[in-house]
Subunit: 287 residues, 2 copies
Amino acid sequence: MNPAEWFSEISDELWPGQCFSLKVKSVLHEERSKYQDIKIVQSESHGVVLILDGIIQCTERDEFAYQEQISFLPLCCHPNPQKVLIVGGGDGGVAREVAKHPSVTEVHQVEIDERVVELSKQYLPFMACGFDSPKLRLTIGDGFEYMKQHEGVFDVIITDSSDPIGPAESLFRESYFELAKRALRPNGVICSQGGSFWLDPAHVRSTLDYCRKHFPRVAYGLAAVPSYPTGQIGFFIASLNPETKFAEPCRTFDEKEIDRLGLRYYTTDVHRAAFTLPRFAAKALYE
Amino acid sequence: MNPAEWFSEISDELWPGQCFSLKVKSVLHEERSKYQDIKIVQSESHGVVLILDGIIQCTERDEFAYQEQISFLPLCCHPNPQKVLIVGGGDGGVAREVAKHPSVTEVHQVEIDERVVELSKQYLPFMACGFDSPKLRLTIGDGFEYMKQHEGVFDVIITDSSDPIGPAESLFRESYFELAKRALRPNGVICSQGGSFWLDPAHVRSTLDYCRKHFPRVAYGLAAVPSYPTGQIGFFIASLNPETKFAEPCRTFDEKEIDRLGLRYYTTDVHRAAFTLPRFAAKALYE
């Protein structure tokens, strides 16, 4: 293995002792933005890959799994989601999915790093097409400030962030859940990237516990995403409606509708299964 | 990344362009047996790791996910599994799980490479403890020959093989399913390692199609195993009973029983969820 030809995702803090690598055909772009290192490569097996601060954010080959689950899990846990806020998600993938949901009328997105947006439009058009939706209003700015200025506005808030070390750290703290709660309408639902319980169940548990202080109903849902460490990622989902049953979606789609919406991962059955955790994880997170 | 300190799992045939690596503390053993290269390492993050022909077979950290699913999915799809055959599984992990099932009285295992058994007893006692069960009868030999000599004997046959290139290749062909069918009692169930549809859905589909020629009911179930390529692995499960509903187990366990059996991954809900595939995979495998 010639290291020059491979991108290796090493993090001694997040996943010590293990590493996923992708063979690189060519480096399409590299820069240091105001917030982070941005690298975009053409891989041999996974299409175009977006890498922030040395961590793979998405690959053309399997990004749909993540984008569909982080969007449709919370949207379908709400009986009538109309106004949606996306925090982060600068590649456009979550906007692409949220805009598909039939009841959604307005998608507000606030992304801190405009260079991620610009470069995604240039190199990841299959995701950045999300910015073309007439439902979308994009703001470049700080998600915390944006939520402070929008109290009681949104039905669903989706936080598509990087991992809890670096610019996204604050999104895994209690103050985030407090602010998100205030920005919601009654019976609102939130969903955030939640790491992997295979790596650090104690960290997942402590974030869930923050969330529990502000929301009567809280759960952890899953997506299989092969290019992420452990091949799985979870989402914190919380609802202000104490009657919410996360594993029984309010809105269901039959297979024809799933295909018409262009969904490749999410189905109503996938939704139901996403909240079933292996025994050790259920114990670590819920007991 | 100093390549000398890492074990990198490269396969241009099975997963070109991608690679998972584990940091190695020490190499515990290395040899060429009659059938394959055997390497056992102490990793920094995943405990002891068994590697055959350069492919990770199991790590101490997450092997339970694989062993429990490949064992309990088929066992719980049978109303009363008593006699079980394990083909392969030389590390002892599947035997360890199968012997836990309350109705199982006899576990017959046939492994081709006795060096894997011997080295697992020495270096992977947490799995090789499976060989200590009084229910177990271990034979060193060829699984095909063994099945030919045992017609109509087993309630469940579990094939815990390496990937479909190398010594296990024949286990992914039609002749395997034909032989397995003959070795079963009426209403018997089989389960085999089935690769990952994220890598090669066409190969998974063609093996499922072989299986369909001999069994009236066939499905593909999942386990999340972070140290395998794509972080997921699937299993071909087939039943001679046309009434079998794989996602609705005949035998259920409550949480107390799960804990008493020492299961860390499998639960009755995990069983039900294991057969739900992402839309693209369901299309590739079933439509």
